[in-house]
Symmetry: C2
Subunit: 318 residues, 2 copies
């Protein structure tokens, strides 16, 4: 949950004066998004989301993120789209921080996705990749495989503190990933954080995705790998093969995978687990106890790493 | 900000199955209300607030609070109203906690109210008192003047810790309040927490009040006294007499005060400052550092106490 920046009625009126949205009718800070301050804003013109970007988002990346959201909405993908002000600007400022008003996307995220949700989510992810085709923006994946070794060098003590012996195990994983990481896979814009809480459903059907603030250009199949980890593990730590097959077949209903992409899924899933393990390990230590952000347990992803390490083909063959 | 209780899509669907509101289209936890978990809920039937009552609210009081909200809405007061399920029940349960769905009330609260807002707020408070007339519910003010002495007995060390010598000063205030506290003033249902963040405006006009979870039966003029403290002090601690006059005259535009009520305002305002000083002093110490609740500074009300102590007639004559 997060509302880091307060916004007064007077500041809001000042912001809205630049837009053709009428006056504000209500404003509610929402407990959503750990990176930014988010408000549900109702004006005479309808409902919107007002986001104020906090320090974890690099302002230089905002034109990519907001441009992508606009592109996706214009290309038929159910995504919140930034609203331009009268001068055509979508990137605004509130209290000296970057801010944007985006359209409201309705739908409900699913807490415990089943195979049917996974199939829908997979299809929605392929639709995202297809809709983003041709988007001219470029942003490297700064949390991609090249970053993991350097990231872990500063986190070895934390890993040992979490579980004695873990640093050596992670070093082994990193060597394995560096050696076998696939090249030449089809690339494009990926969501890179396609977790259940970022995907909306209506009546069991995919209804849209939110939170594009990790989006970047990388292997498309890596996005599937992130999703397999996020959607297809049971609360007891076991991998649900039915859900995984449903997710991949949902994806392939819109965009069939090449043989190389399919063959790469096990190592991509191992790597995707590494990415979230490392950032959670970093945040676990870096988040002050009194912060208003809920810390995410790195051990959840340590267990996923162990699953991929022990049975690399699980993702594909069960 | 507060979302203490999580609610899953499955639990929400279970709750809504009892209502004629269609299925859920979106659910957002809102950073509002320190006592409860609040969600903005959109269903096929419209927009609502879903509140889950946490431990600070006594479940035995909920029929009074919810009954009052319904009564007010039925009597023309702009208040969120509880929605009954198909069996006519308004008090429901989520995860074993009491919960209610209430209608969505739009409007914006004002961060720094001016005299015009104070006039509107005063008129809105009188409208509340008039609309509540005849409401059959009864709830004593458990934070009223009789409670302050006993409350402070357990807080003397905290007061001294805040400011050496403060305990004796507060004891003096309490003796003064006990001696001069007015009796026989017109009583009725009061809001008892009529602060700017609980009052909504649209286009500068009063648009409704929320958060009736301190409402009780007490002297109507005491509600004005609470509001004078909450609305008419400047950030520098000075009392804005123009705002105070506007608030009282707004009130009297709907419900003229008796001579006794008017004469009682100074001591009522002193007492109302004591009530918020004491609860803030208690919460200041009792709130764990890591809690998701923003602590409110007791010193703000210690300064207001000092103003009333030094110039008791300020509230009326400037």
């Amino acid at each position: 949950m997060a509302v880091y920046t307060d916004i007064t009625d007077v500041e809001l009126a000042g912001l809205l004066a630049d837009f053709d949205l009428g006056v504000a009718l209500s404003l509610k800070g929402v407990a959503e998004g750990v990176e930014n301050s988010n408000f549900l804003l109702e004006t005479e013109a309808g409902r919107y989301f007002l986001t104020i970007y906090e320090r974890r988002v690099d302002p230089a990346d905002l034109p990519f993120f907001l441009g992508l959201m606009r592109w996706l909405a214009e290309h038929g993908y159910p995504s919140a789209t930034p609203i331009p002000d009268r001068a055509g600007e979508i990137l605004k400022a509130v209290r000296g921080k970057p801010a944007a008003i985006v359209s409201f996307l309705s739908g409900l995220s699913v807490r415990r996705p089943g195979a049917v949700h996974c199939r829908e989510a997979g299809a929605g992810l392929a639709a995202l990749h297809l809709a983003a085709t041709g988007f001219p923006g470029v942003r490297a994946n700064d949390l991609g495989h090249a970053a993991w070794g350097p990231m872990f060098r500063g986190l070895k003590n934390q890993a040992e503190g979490l579980k004695p012996g873990l640093a050596a195990t992670i070093d082994g994983d990193l060597a394995h990933l560096a050696e076998g990481w696939p090249t030449g896979l089809p690339e494009g814009v990926i969501h890179a954080d396609y977790f259940p809480d970022n995907v909306f459903f209506k009546g069991g059907a995919f209804a849209g995705a939110i939170d594009f603030y990790f989006a970047c250009v990388d292997a498309l199949a890596y996005d599937i790998a992130v999703a397999l980890n996020a959607w297809c593990f049971e609360p007891d730590g076991s991998f649900n093969i039915t859900s995984a097959r449903a997710l991949v077949s949902g994806y392939e209903s819109k965009r069939p995978l090449s043989d190389a992409e399919r063959a790469a899924l096990p190592i991509l899933a191992h790597g995707a687990a590494m990415r979230f393990f490392l950032t959670r390990l970093h945040d676990w230590d870096a988040t002050p106890t009194g912060a208003l952000v809920k810390r995410k347990d790195p051990l959840e992803y340590e267990r996923k790493l162990a699953v991929h390490r022990a049975a690399p083909d699980l993702v594909l063959f069960g």
